[in-house]
């Protein structure tokens, strides 16, 4: 249940679920996200343009020609949160990763004082929950890593990180869908394409609320999978 509702500008609403970042709170955000989308789809709610979940907030943007802040606030206040479900939408993904492409494993091992194989072992055993997707198309922010692997961002971000790189910072793990600059510690690389610009029906592989487990593959398998796409 949200703690506070407010408007942002004349065509946006912020549903604020509090300051904590954990899966329990984020699950509530995502449940509301799916409910609003479903109500929009069923035409019970008109004029919704975008619905953006993040760790602890849901931002709803709407077409002021069709609806206004008061109507959306009333709609939100009328929701019975005990009846919102996530299960039907939640998908479990297994994403291949080749740890041979790690750029920071050596350094991680030194800083954390944990053997490289053990770092890989912990990472590949973690079931990651997708908190949100964004910044660039298809880019997932996932958690929670074992606290043994908590690391800060790189002091000097890299100018170029190859597409598919998997990074970790604190309890979070991400996958860079495109070649881009970035400051996360790179632990491996996946050949899986996260966003397909040619697919009009389902361009984005992952959704907020899905879970991801990484499956370790060899360089050879990486190349074979990469060629299939």
């Amino acid at each position: 249940m949200f703690k506070k509702l407010s408007n942002i500008g004349d065509c946006g609403i912020v549903c604020d679920f509090g300051n904590e970042v954990n899966q329990k709170i984020n699950t509530e955000v995502i449940k509301l996200f799916y409910y609003v989308r479903q109500q929009t789809f069923n035409q019970n709610l008109e004029g919704i343009l975008n619905c953006t979940p993040s760790y602890n907030k849901l931002i709803i943007n709407f077409d002021l020609k069709k609806i206004n802040a008061t109507k959306i606030l009333n709609f939100l206040k009328s929701i019975d949160f005990t009846k919102l479900k996530l299960s039907q939408n939640k998908k479990k993904w297994t994403i291949p990763i080749c740890y041979d492409f790690a750029m920071d494993l050596e350094n991680m091992s030194k800083v954390l004082k944990i053997d490289k194989d053990e770092i890989i072992n912990i990472h590949s055993k973690t079931v990651f929950f997708i908190y949100m997707i964004g910044f660039v198309p298809g880019h997932p922010f996932m958690g929670d890593l074992d606290s043994k692997l908590f690391l800060n961002r790189l002091k000097t971000p890299r100018v170029k990180i190859p597409a598919g790189s998997v990074g970790i910072v604190e309890k979070f793990c991400n996958i860079y869908p495109y070649e881009s600059p970035g400051g996360w510690n790179i632990i491996g690389k996946t050949p899986t394409k996260l966003f397909n610009k040619k697919d009009n029906n389902k361009p984005c592989l992952l959704s907020p609320g899905d879970t991801v487990r990484f499956k370790s593959i060899s360089k050879k398998e990486f190349e074979d999978l990469g060629n299939e796409q």
Partner: protein
């Protein structure tokens, strides 16, 4: 399908296909994009009898030089734009905004510059024949989303048109462009993160639009806004027109191609009715902010819509 097309002889600085925008994808990391100045966009389509959903070419500062390599069309340019038509006999006709023109095979449209403004729009009768992605032809160049592989229009590109010219008449409309430099805003979710003096100064001091301004955001320069709570917040969804204040205290207005999520406190949000006015301000312009309430913003939006409808109704046949 018509096989008609423009050949791009000069692409201009930032020429892209745009329409109303691509919605319902922000949760996947795709910003809405779409036309920066919606009013000019809607009028551009209306002048060539297009549906308001049709895509147009948006350009900034210097526009493209286009040659109609095949076919006949009708076009209109809106905004405040200096342009000329060069016909196949090499005669030059100086162009007027807010009216439609016939264009024959071999004719060229030379869009020289936007005057005291940033964006201009080129519509053609029937629209451009380009592949939409998720129901929109808007190009989000930052993420390479949309037609033309998500890239800005480039030299030698072919721009196909959907239809051949059908309409016999040409149309025009007259209206004056708004010039005021006062932008109305609503208080943002983190308004109270700022010191008492900053909250006052935000409304009394002028802010200069800097060169670091594009479709994604507008960096302002002026009195430093002092954050007394926290300069970072948890990343949250971004709304167009949000005015965020990073650590250096200089505000940034997030525009149409904004990131989908971001983590800076937002002091205010530009009202929908003043958004087009703001994005057309050129760098170097001093603007100031006026705080209003939500009901007033909603009323102003209604007036903004009816003003556009009135302009569109006033479009008359050229005798």
């Amino acid at each position: 399908m018509s096989n008609n097309f423009f050949e791009v002889l000069r692409p201009g600085i930032n020429t892209t296909f745009q329409d109303k925008g691509r919605f319902g994808m922000q949760h996947l990391g795709v910003a809405p994009s779409g036309c920066m100045d919606h009013k000019s966009f809607l009028i551009a389509n209306a002048l060539v009898s297009n549906d308001e959903k049709e895509g147009v070419l948006e350009f900034a500062y210097q526009g493209p030089l286009l040659k109609l390599a095949k076919g006949k069309t009708k076009f209109a340019i809106t905004g405040n734009v200096l342009f000329q038509i060069i016909n196949s006999k090499n005669e030059t006709i100086s162009g007027e905004c807010n009216r439609s023109y016939d264009l024959d095979e071999g004719d060229q449209i030379d869009i020289l510059a936007t005057r005291q403004s940033v964006y201009g729009y080129l519509s053609v009768e029937g629209g451009f024949e380009v592949e939409p992605f998720c129901n929109s032809i808007s190009i989000l160049a930052r993420a390479n989303i949309g037609p033309n592989e998500g890239k800005k229009i480039n030299i030698k590109n072919k721009i196909p048109l959907k239809t051949n010219r059908k309409e016999k008449n040409n149309y025009a409309v007259n209206f004056s462009l708004e010039k005021k430099n006062v932008i109305r805003i609503l208080k943002g979710p983190q308004f109270d993160y700022f010191s008492e003096s900053s909250k006052k100064e935000f409304f009394f001091k002028e802010y200069k639009i800097t060169n670091l301004t594009d479709r994604m955001g507008m960096r302002l320069e002026g009195k430093v806004l002092k954050n007394i709570v926290s300069t970072n917040i948890r990343s949250e969804g971004i709304t167009k027109g949000a005015i965020q204040v990073p650590e250096d205290g200089q505000p940034i207005v997030l525009l149409t191609d904004h990131p989908t999520i971001g983590g800076y406190p937002k002091i205010a949000n530009v009202i929908s009715a003043d958004y087009d006015l703001l994005v057309q301000k050129i760098p170097g312009t001093n603007i100031s902010f006026k705080c209003i309430d939500l009901q007033e913003a909603e009323q102003l939006y209604k007036e903004w819509c009816s003003n556009i409808s009135k302009i569109i109704k006033d479009i008359k046949k050229i005798k």
